[in-house]
Amino acid sequence: MGPQHPSTHGVFRMNVALDGETIVKLQPVFGYLHRNHEKLGENTGYLQSMPYTDRLDYLCAMTNNWAYALSVEKLAGFEVPERAEYLRIIMGELTRLVNHLCLVGFLFNDLGTSFTPLLYAFREREKILDLFEALSGSRMMVNYQRFGGCRVDPTPEWLDAVRAIVDRFPRFLDEYETMLTGNEILLARTQGVGPLSPELAINAGLTGPVLRATGVDYDIRKVDRYGIYDRFDFRVPLGDHGDTYDRYMLRILEMRETLKILQQALRDIPAGDIIAPKAKSRGLRPPAGEAYGRIEGPKGEIGFYLISDGSAQPYRYRVRPPSFVNLTVLEDMCIGTTIADAVVILGSIDIVLGEVDR
């Protein structure tokens, strides 16, 4: 199956051995979008890699930016001003909304609903992308974060526009859920499909909603408390069975929690600097050493491992891609199911090939 296949989310390929229609063996094949991100990162300066991180997981450029900025801040020892932390949280959580919306849309595409849920999802996504565009100049490739802060300070009108969208969003989500969640076909096709045990999920290094759907309470926003997430009041939804339905439901619940975080951030955002005066972006030469920084991206733990030898280019630039590691258990989930279910399971893992292959 693949790499050109309408349901493989890009150029993913699976070698599937079948018995009738039942899968007995499944081997994922990667590399069709291997764009040498890490090699390019080692040959360019620190700041030059920032736009490349946009193109890693191209649905959530903001969180990739954030993870990279966080790692460089750890490497160079920069502080981040408070307003920038709030802005990062607003951007990151808006990105989470966009990503989960698209995921649900694509998942229903894989279930065979032919575009309709995706149309609704993209309608809302466009509103958020317009915000990003107004702020950073680009819809998708935002290149917004900087080491020690953010690039552009939003105007009060922009923040009002976010507030308006956040206030209206629950209504859309209700409408969306009325349309989808109780749907008979969804229940039949996802409940009990591709279950995963928590032990295997931990051992296989799964992160993000796929892990939490198995009931493991591990959210880096709560564990690391990076940024200023400890000031916010939100819950971490957990699944029960680890099946496809839980993975779908978890995203919907996470969107609701995300809205809570956004409301608190928009209420509390202070005035002030958006970039630390001591931080340096252009021609940055961090002291020799290494750092691994990670955040909770919409798909799971996205981390950057950087080794500096004191020069302007990182000696080693490594991306820890969440969806790549999450694919480890694809075979375990798919064995014994049918081809049609494998498509749905793959859709529920939420992969983006730009990040899987880098």
């Binding site: 290094g205 961090p286 750092a291 080693r316 480890t328």
Partner: protein, 219 residues
């Protein structure tokens, strides 16, 4: 430091035969590493996963690092006794080549204990050319499976006891290991208007140099 040093002491007491080494990180992040030897690596890894005090059940990140041969200049001070009995200190500069190696770095966390600082394990190969073997930790943490394959593909580090060691990103017929620092990529250069010195250097090989008059007009 404290946690890694603590872990090191603990492991030294638990595994007296193993050769362990603290790899310090001089940067502000201060994430120190722990270098393991090949024979006891898997034993220690299993212990770290199972031991209730550590419970490092989650291996987050596996990266390969290519440490090329580097030259180190050291000042060696020798005391020379002169004929008249007085001693003088003589400073000599000694340059020696430290052979390169590949390193595989594992970042571990504990999901059970919810740790927020990684424990870093490092495995090193003997050299960069013929002996590039390290033990695989996939039997301990399944999450290493694809990432170790990636290290094998891009760096050429072989992992013993890896269940399925094949190329993962490049095609199977591919022979090179492109993430190595000395990798030379295929020359499919085409002209592009960039001022980078390296690009212009490659361009010079593809386009015959212009006559001096033309060159003058270009610059």
């Amino acid at each position: 430091m404290s946690s890694t040093a603590e872990l090191l002491d603990h492991l030294r007491a638990r595994f007296p035969d193993a050769t362990l080494e603290l790899v310090e990180n001089p940067g502000p992040a201060a994430q120190h590493g722990l270098r393991l030897d090949h024979t006891s690596a898997r034993l220690i890894a299993t212990y770290l996963r199972e031991d209730p005090a550590w419970q490092l059940d989650y291996c987050s990140n596996v990266s390969g690092v290519d440490w090329i041969d580097r030259e180190e200049t050291e000042k060696v001070t020798t005391t020379v006794t002169a004929e008249d009995g007085s001693t003088a200190e003589k400073v000599e500069k000694v340059t020696r080549t430290i052979p390169g190696y590949f390193e595989v770095v594992y970042h571990l966390y504990s999901m059970a204990r919810k740790t927020s600082e990684p424990v870093i394990l490092r495995l090193r190969t003997a050299n960069r050319t013929d002996d590039t073997v390290v033990p695989s930790l996939t039997p301990v943490w399944r999450s290493c499976e694809f990432q170790e394959r990636e290290v094998y593909d891009l760096y050429g580090v072989s992992f013993t006891d890896h269940p399925d060691l094949r190329r993962i990103l490049m095609w199977d017929e591919f022979k090179d290991h492109p993430m190595r620092k000395d990798y030379v990529e295929p020359d499919d250069y085409e002209y592009e208007p960039t001022p980078h010195a390296t690009v212009l250097e490659r361009a010079a090989k593809h386009y015959p140099p212009a006559s001096p008059a033309e060159e003058g007009s270009q610059s």
